[in-house]
Amino acid sequence: MKVSGSLAVGGAILSVVGAGIWKLFTKPGDLFYGTKRTKGLSLMEDEEPLVSPYRRTFGFEVPDEINALDVEGGSIYLATPNQVYIYGLSGELQYNFSIPSGLRDLAVYEGKVYALFSAAVEVYDRHGELVRQWAACSDGADYCSLAVCPEGVFVTDASNKHICKYQPDGTFACFINSPSGFVVPSYSFGITAVDGKIFCSNPGRHQVEQYTTDGTFVASFGKSGAGKGAFSGCCNPVVVTPANNGELLTSEKGIPRVSCYSQEGAFRSVLLDAKALGGGHDAYRIRVMKDKLIVAGGDKVSVFQYNKQQSQLTECGQCDQDCPLKV
């Protein structure tokens, strides 16, 4: 009895320990890192799979994280924390020069690179020579983005919550305030100039607002929501940029996507959804170069082109606008 009892107990203990040791040698990962939650958290309950009408045709990587993007004349201008890189459309580096750190946004106009810092604007030529610079005109300025057009340089101020207009030579022109007030919870206050009109985002109110170059408010559009045709989260859109026919492209954060609206606010289509863009939750920077979409996020630049086949079931395919992107 004693022997059999001992053997039973001993056998039980040895088998438990033996099983543990066997697992240590073969699958230690299961033993130590097994969890109840194997998938991450998902906020969107029903994710409708979106087919993007645009397809990624080309892409390249740059040495550092991209903070700003602009295009002009067939060249792609990128700003990383300390450098400005100028690439050709096929990804060949044309030129690069160094700039001070802390750049907020970049705009290229008539061959000059306008670099926006939190309280200053610096203008460089393509070879990195400083041409002009001026400091912010107001105290406590925290600049976010800028747009350059013949009438002047328009800069959005996230802390003072207005737009500051400068003459092309840098002298202060005027402040532009929104009739309902700009609500800017984070540094997503995009602005662009097209055909003598200024379009900017009022991110906290989910609006895209239109002004004349003198600063008079014209109109606004936009609504809150997570579905297409609306602006999600708390502060969207981040980027507003025009296509060559004047239609407005917006880029959002949170659920990264690029949408197309008319200047009056009619929603056209979602051009690129989160999957096509590459995921994450930061907004992707986007510019239009004739018939291509140039998208920058992280340290990657992607070129997207309209794909007739993919667009058949999307609003883009049904859209009757004369769009230069749809070739």
Binding site: I13, R37, S159, S186
Partner: protein, 407 residues
């Protein structure tokens, strides 16, 4: 990488940001109480075992220990686990060892050098818990006991391996009683703990005898203790009443060798030991060390690396969250590969050492089994004795003393 600033909302109503208080942990003073109580309780056990030979005092200490160290302090950090902290402190210079963990580790060891396994008597909450539920005393056969007694050393070797390579705290992962003390935790471990407790109702101290790595360490120190516990202060009359009382089979019966062994036989035996022991050690080292790469998957980076490789080989498989996070945070595969090589190199060294330890211990135990020590009376094997105090009341010499006093 933190964001520098955010544009502040322009509050016009004079809104003030609220001040938020956060909960503070238990006073640091409790750690001092822990160590003071540790020393005090061990002192009480020494007095109870050596001077009074009273089991009831030792049981009282067990109750205090289960209540304070067990349920109040949740049985964590304990001396058994402190081995890992100490090993980590020796190999990782960036880890700051708390002084009270050091005390938890070293004080019972020093007490063992002086008086034997005083800690195991009733001060260790795990041992005390088993002691309090132990009713019957079903002893396992010598052979089974000897076989199972290798396990604590295996446990110790692996615990040191994983702590030294900064992979895991193995003892904490498989602590059976902390779930009971904490009243919550991993279901598997609680089931294991409850089963061990049920077992300890009729088998004495199963965790202490067959699993505890700290016990293995203490047994080395207590086998050379300065003061050795004896069942009675008077001379042993060889009545053999005590031997059945010990739950861990720590009382040696007298052995007298009938014939004195010849010198040449003795020399041959020593040479045999001198050859066999290193052979065992080497075999152990090769067996475990040869598997060091397989063992290294216990390290998180190596595990992640294997997951990435597996995912790259089967892209249609669902991506594990670890791999997804690695890529989302911009993980550098080459840096990970370099780290994995470094970790596996460390594993190679420590796995050989761990295997050598296991081999050495197995060899030593086998050789000890074949050696017959001559002994004239019933003696306590201080390496195994957990000072529970059961034997005191069985010895007639102890009761005689009381009767004499009454007279």
């Amino acid at each position: 990488m933190c964001e520098a600033r955010f544009p502040k909302p322009d509050f016009t109503s004079g809104y003030q940001y609220p001040d938020i208080e956060h909960g503070v942990p238990l006073e640091w003073l409790w750690n001092v109480v822990d160590i003071v109580l540790l020393i005090a309780l061990m002192g009480v056990v020494v007095w109870a075992a050596y001077k009074r030979r009273s089991r009831s005092v030792i049981l009282g200490v067990s109750v205090v220990s289960v209540a304070y160290f067990g349920f109040f302090r949740s049985g964590c950090v304990c001396s058994v686990g402190s081995i890992q902290n100490v090993v980590l402190a020796l190999t990782d210079s960036s880890y700051h060892l708390p002084w009270y963990v050091l005390c938890l580790f070293i004080i019972p060891i020093l007490a063992a050098v002086l008086f034997g396994r005083v800690f195991c008597a009733g001060v260790c909450p795990l041992g005390a818990l088993q002691e309090l539920v132990n009713v019957k005393n079903f002893r396992l056969t010598r052979a089974v006991s000897a076989a199972l007694s290798v396990i604590p050393w295996v446990y110790l070797a692996f615990a040191i391996l994983y702590a030294a390579t900064r992979s895991q705290f193995l003892i904490c992962r498989f602590d059976p009683f902390v779930g009971i003390f904490r009243l919550g935790g991993d279901l598997g471990m609680i089931v294991f703990g409850v089963s061990l407790l049920l077992l300890s109702v009729f088998v004495g101290r199963p965790f202490c005898q067959f699993l505890c790595p700290y016990g293995a360490l203490l047994s080395v120190f207590s086998s050379f203790s300065w003061k050795k516990l004896s069942i009675t202060s008077k001379t042993c009359i060889n009545c053999a009443l005590c031997i059945k009382s010990c739950p861990v089979d720590a009382i040696h019966s007298p052995q007298t060798s009938k014939t004195k062994e010849s010198r040449s036989a003795g020399v041959k035996r020593v040479i045999l030991f001198a050859v066999l022991l290193p052979v065992f050690t080497l075999c152990g080292a090769l067996l475990v060390g040869g598997q060091s790469d397989a063992l290294s998957s216990a390290h998180k980076s190596v595990y992640l690396y294997h997951l990435i490789q597996e995912q790259q080989a089967n892209p249609e498989m669902e991506m594990p969250l670890e791999v997804e996070t690695f890529h989302a945070l911009g993980g550098d595969i080459e840096a990970l590969q370099a780290e994995v090589t470094e970790v596996q190199h460390q594993y190679a060294i420590y796995a050989y050492l761990a295997g050598a330890l296991i081999g050495f211990v197995i060899g030593l135990k086998l050789l000890r089994l074949s050696v017959k020590r001559s002994r004239k009376t019933y003696e306590i094997d201080t390496a195994r004795c957990t000072m529970c105090g059961r034997c005191f009341s069985y010895c007639p010499q102890n009761t005689v003393k009381k009767d004499e006093k009454a007279l």
